[in-house]
Symmetry: C2
Subunit: 231 residues, 2 copies
């Protein structure tokens, strides 16, 4: 099933954007009256029918509206982006497929990358949401300083940090049905002053397992772990 995306349906916008119109009309050769499945990325799933098969502005009429409630838990991932942006694009795709509510990017003292292309990452997120048949697009924020992220609120706040005195696994520390905020450091990890600031702000230091993971693998493993304990 091809799922299309129009975030402004609740505001009364009943056409696809140019890219999706082209896909529907040119690639899939949809015609007037053909069924169309659309989500607004805000929990809404609409069964619609094409009213104008225009490859630049494909309009539709809604025949049935379904609403998916939010999940009983909320995962906020905050990650220091890797130097190689491909690894972040991959992470966004995979985290969305597996299930995540919100993603922050942050600048840490050891960060090698201080910018991201939010628009590009958002496109990847939309594509992953549609491909995995989900109806909620995660919030994807622009990059912020570590100090701002660390002052954020959540029921359970974790900083993934690997050192000799790190006895607690995220698996055993996380409780089901919570709002989690998980911090994943840059290549080279957090500096001790950053760890201290996180601990002062109520974060618990956790480990993800026994092997040394790359930044993006750690982020995905944290996401998998939190989904897993809620499964």
């Amino acid at each position: 099933m091809n799922l299309f995306y129009q975030p402004a349906i609740p505001e009364g916008v009943f056409h696809l954007d140019e890219d999706e119109s082209r896909h529907a009309v040119k690639v899939l050769r949809m015609q007037v009256g053909d069924p169309l499945h659309v989500t607004d990325g805000r929990g809404g799933y609409y069964k619609a029918a094409v009213t104008t098969a225009d490859a630049r502005k494909c309009t539709f009429t809604i025949q049935e509206t379904n609403t998916t409630p939010p999940r009983s838990f909320f995962i906020t991932l905050a990650i220091a982006p890797t130097k190689n942006i491909d690894r972040m694009e991959w992470l966004v795709e995979k985290a969305v497929e597996i299930g995540v509510e919100e993603i922050y990017f942050m600048v840490c003292q050891n960060s090698e990358r201080k910018t991201i292309n939010r628009e590009r990452l958002l496109k990847i997120a939309v594509s992953a949401m549609k491909q995995s048949g989900q109806f909620r697009l995660p919030l994807l924020h622009d990059i912020k300083p570590f100090a701002e992220i660390v002052s954020g609120n959540a029921n359970q706040k974790f900083i993934c940090y690997v050192d000799a005195s790190n006895p607690h696994l995220l698996k055993t520390q996380a409780q089901p049905n919570q709002h989690y905020l998980v911090l994943i450091g840059p290549e080279g990890d957090f500096r001790p002053t950053e760890l201290d600031l996180a601990l002062q702000n109520g974060f618990s230091k956790v480990s993800l397992g026994s092997t040394r993971l790359r930044t993006e693998t750690a982020a995905l493993t944290a996401c998998q772990t939190l989904n897993f304990i809620n499964l």
Copy 2:
């Protein structure tokens, strides 16, 4: 710490191959007497010292030998490779980082890809093993027909298959400390005849969660799940 790889140390080979020799001598500028950390990918971790700083054949002498036992469980992943080989390269890297003992590739009826470049995937596996500080290289087999894979042995055999009558999660079916064999189908999934053959061979049909996952994401999620229940 830079970890080097020489699989033939147990057979008495005490030099690095050409690529790693160049890395040690040209990039890291190692000199005679410098400490060198080497694994044989078979559980052996060696503290060594450079004896000839030759950028084509860097020799070393072993000063200390450590052996890591195998894990208490054994994960065999069998996956139908995706059309886009990048997704398989990514999977091999991530599965090795997270922990996997053996990977098979298989040709299914819906397979769009029937070949892999085993040498290239092996290089990626070696690199991921070294990068994640592990001392065991997973077995990585060449591509085989589904019928051959499905006749393989393990304590717990699972086929990941998404349909309406699929009540069992891998998470709840897998027991700790077993040898697992998990089958991941192609884009388009297994055909019903393949599913039947697997069931006849003692496989249990399992689901990985509530979202629709791409082939490589499903394989990694299965790997994460099995590592998770053994954590």
